[in-house]
Subunit: 419 residues, 2 copies
């Protein structure tokens, strides 16, 4: 296991400007998990679609009133005209009533617009007079209604294969009559944390030189939030090549993905990389970004292993920025860029190197925090987001929010105070 040997299938991703190769590399070599069928409901949220999902029902499913008002023929509804009210159309009712020349029918918002009518006059624009209405303001054909299928036609693709289902997508699928969907089964992930200095719990601390294992629980909580991952195993292993190898081999059985933290740098006790080079096949190592150097991906027929730095700060950052989209790709998804791109200031770092920094967000700008060092774990308390800065230009950053807790009440009040 000497250093510097030629590795089988070794690819060195030597520039943050080419990180797309990571995803291509994974997609080319790894089959997504098997397909399963689920009833559309809350449990579909977070899962990855295996096939295109098509609308079984158009939207709206019938020509629908957008207002409480009177369905009319627009040509009859001149200001001052009197129309005879021949019936009403209520939400949820089939609506037998038809509207002929000189006629009108009451419609609820969301109710079916009766046959014959081509516009709706809102209640506030008519005067009711017994069985008749008097038009105060006229309408054009198509006013205040949504035609059947004007938003989504029957058979149209609602979501493509590879889409990650968000909660609101579940509602859109149900509205369009989708009863079941084919999704990928969850990705089975195991987490291995290495480090002889680590103890499981604060109460296990016996000396000042020991450190509580604090990255495994964080990764477990983050993985649980993804929705397309099932945690198989999480364990702590000493810096011993035999134990690490055994843990990796054990975990690789029955897991699609291993995440291994620590032991992947260039120190004397950094065994992980060499063990993976032996036990796995292709190996990509190192993204030229800070943090990120010990980030690597190893593949074998039935499993993928990611290596993360040992500092919890760097491990977490690398997980959030680089591993999450890789997990999405492995789960069969097509991770999109959502452009939370903001002007950025105050982040230090070498120009030639990409940087991931902890930032605060204010007035639409990301601002680097003082003392952003990998040894300063508690700095996450002050950070609103992680900012990804490409090599060279540090003026704009891709921003990944760290806290979900948002208070528009307070924000609106503050904006008001600005003026």
């Amino acid at each position: 296991m000497a250093r510097g040997r030629k590795y089988r299938g070794f690819v060195y991703t030597d520039d943050l400007t080419r990180p797309r190769r990571f995803l291509e590399f994974l997609r080319e070599r790894v089959e997504p998990p098997e397909v399963e069928e689920l009833e559309v409901g809350p449990e579909v949220a977070g899962r990855v679609l295996a096939d295109d999902v098509r609308a079984e029902r158009p939207s709206p499913p019938f020509t629908r009133s957008a207002m409480d008002g009177y369905a009319v023929r627009a040509e009859d509804a001149e200001p001052g005209a009197r129309l005879r009210v021949v019936g009403e159309s209520r939400i949820g009712e089939e609506g037998e009533v038809k509207v002929g020349p000189g006629e009108a029918a009451y419609v609820d918002t969301g109710a079916r617009v009766p046959e014959g009518a081509d516009a709706v006059v809102p209640v506030e624009f008519v005067e009711r007079d017994g069985d008749e209405i008097v038009i105060k303001e006229g309408v054009e054909p198509g006013d205040n209604l949504d035609r059947r299928g004007c938003y989504v036609e029957e058979g149209e693709v609602l979501y493509p294969a590879g889409h990650v289902v968000e909660p609101v997508d579940v509602g859109v699928m149900l509205e369009h009559g989708v009863e079941e969907v084919r999704v990928r089964r969850p990705l089975r992930v195991s987490v291995i944390v290495t480090g002889s200095e680590l103890v499981e719990r604060p109460s296990d601390l016996e000396s000042e030189a020991q450190v509580v294992e604090s990255i495994g629980p964080v990764l477990e909580a983050e993985l649980a939030r993804l929705g397309f991952v099932e945690l198989r195993d999480r364990r702590l292993v000493e810096d011993d090549p035999v134990e690490i190898e055994r843990a990796i081999v054990d975990a690789a059985d029955g897991s699609d993905v291993l995440i291994v933290t620590g032991g992947s740098s260039v120190g004397e006790r950094d065994y992980v990389k060499e063990i993976l080079e032996d036990a796995f096949e292709d190996f990509i190592h190192g993204i030229r970004a800070r943090p990120g150097r010990p980030f690597g991906v190893a593949l074998r027929e039935d499993a993928v292993a990611f290596t993360l730095p040992g500092w919890p700060t760097s491990a977490y950052t690398t997980f959030r920025v680089w591993v999450t989209p890789c997990l999405l790709a492995l789960a069969g998804a097509d991770p999109e860029v959502v452009g939370l791109e903001l002007p950025c200031e105050g982040v230090k770092g070498k120009k030639a190197l990409g940087v991931i920094a902890r930032v605060e967000l204010e007035d639409g700008r990301a601002r680097g925090l003082p003392r952003d060092r990998s040894s300063h774990y508690a700095l996450f308390r002050e950070a609103d987001a992680l900012a990804v800065l490409p090599p060279g230009g540090k003026e704009r950053a891709l921003v990944l929010p760290l806290r979900r807790c948002v208070n528009p009440f307070e924000w609106v009040e503050r904006r008001r105070g600005d003026r």
Copy 2:
């Protein structure tokens, strides 16, 4: 139950510029849930802290090397100086070695800096020569090390009461030796969806005028993501005042919060508001924003009820923007504003009215989508975020991302292409 009567404790929040009153109103009147004790671990993520959490251990817990190198007395480490290597300090070891004048000790990154030393010379700045090192570049006291407690002192408040624990906070607490925390028990929430036109499943559809109930499953999935909520019950009820009242009274027993969708506007079948005015005490109704008019909050001694619009689009938007921070406040949290504030364009709406719009995000700007109407549920497919715009000024928006799926790989590649 005539319209226009004077309601007990009625407060009309008549302006989006005063929405903070909603939260004040809730905080003044509602006690947060009871306290429970949890071991610090992944299951604490999402929960609300009941007390301040203090560091049981400083960070770092000992003066720690930030580099692989040699611990020295800075005054000895002039360029060209020769120092005798008297030992080494490894990660996880107590380190008996001490550094005296003219001496040095090898230290791993993260290992304890031996007594006597006040700086670390990185390995690349020394030449090893048997038992000695030759200094190539000097250091100042404090270089390349983190002093005990320099980030967090023992006993310092790590997180205040009311903080919502994110996954990374779990790691920070463990690192600082926190074994257990006192948190609020989860908020018990029931969801009642009203509407005679609604059926439970697509396979239940019998007529074109029926609509599949599609907001309840969305709210269930969103509530599950919050982490501080336990869903008690979710049910569908017809537009019948007796049934709605029974459902509300049933659900109020054993729930802290009811969320009721539909039936709160001003139509003939809008019974919910009046039932709540009878069954509950204080009632705040209507935020002057679109959507949001049917949004209301009713209180009684042991429960809070929120009313949401009936259109799924509006109900979801109101839930995300206004109900989520209220739930946080009720759970005992202090929801912060996280300033995802972006320039915004292309959103229509009355100037005097606050607007919540669906937007796409590109190049650091939010842009309104065409056809953003509450009847157009499927437009969520094209939206990256909800944008909250205060009354009057529509140039800047508070942005709440709708999709969590982000791909920095792709983004970095694109930024590269820009230059």
